[in-house]
């Protein structure tokens, strides 16, 4: 086990290095002058030259790469000319919002997929099963941006039930910054009204994101529950006289969850993709929106910085998922 983990860690380091390489490559291999792009379209010639000098953009690529890596290790992601702040500060500001959004979406999608997948497996071959399959495919097929816009149209414009975007109504004061997750912070400080407001704003974006999570997970759940149900130990458990609920929980689901865990990594990929679009549509002040604005404004450092951070998070989470899986399955844990 130890060697397996060590190897995974080593691989992760390799991948992270590769990620930095790719993003560096992207940031330098640009049609046009990198200095101009970093300085921004408005900057004067002198400013451009200044930027070029500061960032050493005229040096050979290897040197530039070395400097880039050194900066990265010190956590320096450059300066955003749009926000006039360090990219690192920007990301630290915007990351919690994305975590809150993605976190809820993952939980909601996962739970829904668990329930639906299990029911579909138990009612295999019936109309319920087919309905489950259809919703799964719908979840994967519906364009995220379109679903977001439609829900906005329906629930805000036509029905007025839910807000258009943002995390809170402008009039509401945000709770003190403890975790950066508004729902958590407002609960922790006992501010129930703010909690409700934050929750209202979360509903639509979470639903949209959760649809993709659900779509991917539900079929896997169904398959793994079916596999579990076909195993001899379920029959043994039933023959012991255990209640159906116990059989489901302790025997069927515990085994069925294992394959589902392996998919979590892919789920994060989906979330990363969805976050861009959803935050843009709902004006959610998270990393996705930040990156999107950066792209629009040709803010190079911000774009690359955000991409890098997202990629790193993705890689790390995949590693965590891999290792968690190794622990969850006793057959692997105690070999």
């Amino acid at each position: 086990m130890g060697t397996v983990i060590a190897r995974r860690l080593a691989f992760m380091v390799f991948v992270l290095w590769g990620v930095t390489l790719v993003t560096f490559f992207l940031s330098r291999v640009v049609p046009g002058d990198p200095a101009r792009l970093m300085a921004g379209p408005e900057a004067s010639q002198a400013a451009v030259a200044h930027i070029a000098r500061i960032y050493g953009l005229n040096d050979p690529l290897i040197v530039q790469y070395g400097r880039y890596m050194r900066d990265l290790i010190h956590g320096n992601l450059g300066f955003s000319f749009v926000t006039r702040r360090n990219v690192r500060t920007d990301i630290a500001t915007f990351l919690p919002a994305t975590i809150e959004l993605a976190g809820y979406a993952l939980v909601v999608g996962f739970v829904l997929a668990l329930v639906t997948g299990t029911v579909a497996a138990y009612r295999r071959g019936t109309a319920t099963d087919a309905a489950g399959r259809l919703t799964a495919i719908a979840g994967l097929s519906l364009p995220v941006f379109w679903l977001a816009l439609l829900l906005q149209l329906l629930f805000h414009t036509k029905l007025g039930w839910l807000p258009l975007g943002g995390r809170l109504d402008p009039a509401v004061t945000p709770p003190p910054h403890l975790t950066g997750l508004l729902t958590v912070d407002s609960l922790l400080t006992g501010d129930f009204a703010t909690f409700v407001n934050a929750a209202e704003h979360l509903v639509l974006p979470v639903v949209v994101l959760a649809a993709g999570v659900y779509g991917l997970m539900v079929r896997i759940m169904r398959t793994s529950v079916l596999d579990s149900l076909g195993e001899e130990y379920v029959r043994t458990a039933e023959a012991k006289g255990l209640s159906r609920w116990r059989v489901l929980r302790r025997h069927v689901l515990r085994n069925a969850m294992l394959p589902a865990v392996t998919v979590l990594g892919l789920e994060f990929g989906l979330l990363a993709a969805g976050v861009f679009v959803v935050e843009s549509v709902f004006q959610w002040p998270g990393i996705g929106n930040y990156a999107f604005q950066a792209i629009q404004a040709n803010d190079y450092n911000a774009t690359i910085g955000a991409t890098l951070v997202i990629a790193i998070i993705y890689v790390v989470i995949n590693l965590i998922v891999d290792i968690a899986y190794l622990y969850l399955d006793p057959r692997i844990r105690y070999t």
Binding site: R235, G241, R254, N255, D329, R331, Y334
Partner: protein, 371 residues
């Protein structure tokens, strides 16, 4: 041995009457079990033998009421456990019986135990499902149980996982679980098939010893006639969902009546016969979605007559039928138009001069029912 069996025969612990089970799928209907009836006395040992598709496992699942739900249906029959008809019981009542009055030792020890739970947890679970005892006491009893099935240092083993045990050990655990609550009936489905030959004997002995100790009746299911000899007092031979022969174990081995039984005996390799070719039963088990018009074994039977293709023989005491040799003992039931004679048993082939098995008529095997 027989005396004791007869004395206890007054009130059978299990009485199955005319059990028929049907599987419905999108494409066809499968008659897995057809009109099976038998008794099992208290502390008795009955063997159900047959190939895959014979209906033996389905019968056992029917007794446990664990048939796959939308697909399988008990079409007719009664299953009496003592004074209760299991088929009429509700799910809840049935659940109370399972594990406590009737239990199961499943086929494959590898997949019969949940891989993500410790062995101890799985034994404790059984105990706590039927008795309200504390976890600590349950663990204590679990360790005791593991000890009775011959697992060394049982208290240490409680927290280990199934994959850390050998096949034989796992099977012992399953036996411990099955006998934990001293059931009146134990169903053992191919308990040794997945095990090494050397381990098989040990496990069988263990089963024999423990069931005798507790007075548990055992229904042993297998395709292997060999283990039947050790374990059972009576054997029922099944083919294509029908009982084709039912007799005391000694009878089955010494004087089988049904050609299929004779065939099964022939295909047991015996050390004494080393060097002689095995005579397998030609052909393969029938597809169960067609109901044969006559005897289901006819296509593979070396004794087949014309009537065999047309008319299903009914299960009747063999005393009435006799080809050559004297009267047959009572308690030997047979469903056959043309039984095996005493001298034909050895060779496994009919010895009647000029006899050829009857060929199928044009409408031999017919699908009599569609979905």
């Amino acid at each position: 041995m027989d005396g004791r069996a007869q004395a206890a025969a007054s009130d059978p612990v299990l009485r199955v009457r005319d059990l028929s089970v049907r599987f419905d799928s999108r494409r066809n209907v499968v008659h897995a079990v057809n009109g099976v009836s038998f008794d099992l006395e208290v502390g008795g040992a009955l063997g159900l033998v047959g190939e895959s598709g014979s209906g033996k496992t389905v019968t056992s699942l029917a007794i446990l009421r664990l048939l796959p739900r939308p697909a399988a249906r008990i079409v007719t029959g009664e299953i009496w456990l003592g004074d209760r008809d299991l088929i009429r019981l509700s799910d809840r009542e049935m659940r109370r019986l399972r594990g406590k009055e009737i239990s199961l030792v499943p086929q494959d020890p590898l997949s019969g135990l949940n891989p993500v739970l410790t062995v101890g947890e799985q034994v404790v679970e059984t105990l706590r499902a039927h008795e309200s005892i504390r976890r600590r006491e349950a663990r204590h009893r679990a360790a005791e149980l593991l000890g009775t099935v011959g697992i060394p240092r049982p208290s240490d083993q409680l927290d280990r996982y199934p994959h850390q045990f050998s096949g034989g050990m796992r099977q012992r655990v399953l036996i411990a679980i099955a006998l934990a609550l001293r059931p009146t009936l134990l169903i053992a489905d191919e308990p040794t098939t997945a095990l090494d030959v050397t381990v098989q004997a040990q496990v069988l002995d263990l089963l024999h010893e423990l069931t005798a100790q507790h007075g548990t009746a055992i229904l042993l299911i297998s395709h292997d006639l060999g283990i039947m000899a050790r374990m059972t007092r009576r054997i029922m031979v099944m083919y294509a969902g029908y009982v084709v022969e039912s007799a005391p174990t000694v009878e089955i081995f010494a004087r089988p009546g049904h050609p299929y039984t004779a065939g099964l005996l022939q295909s047991i390799p015996r050390v004494a016969d080393a060097g002689r070719p095995l005579t397998p039963i030609a052909g393969s088990p029938p597809e169960l979605d067609r109901r044969p018009r006559g005897c289901p074994f006819a296509p593979r039977c070396a004794w087949a007559l014309d009537v065999c293709w047309r008319e299903m023989p009914s299960l009747a005491p063999m005393g009435a039928l006799s080809f050559s040799g004297g009267p047959r003992p009572v308690g030997h039931l047979l469903a056959c138009h043309n039984p095996v004679a005493a001298d034909e048993v050895e060779g496994g082939r009919p010895l009647r001069p000029g006899f050829r098995p009857a060929p199928p008529p044009e409408d031999g095997l017919v699908a009599q029912e569609t979905t």
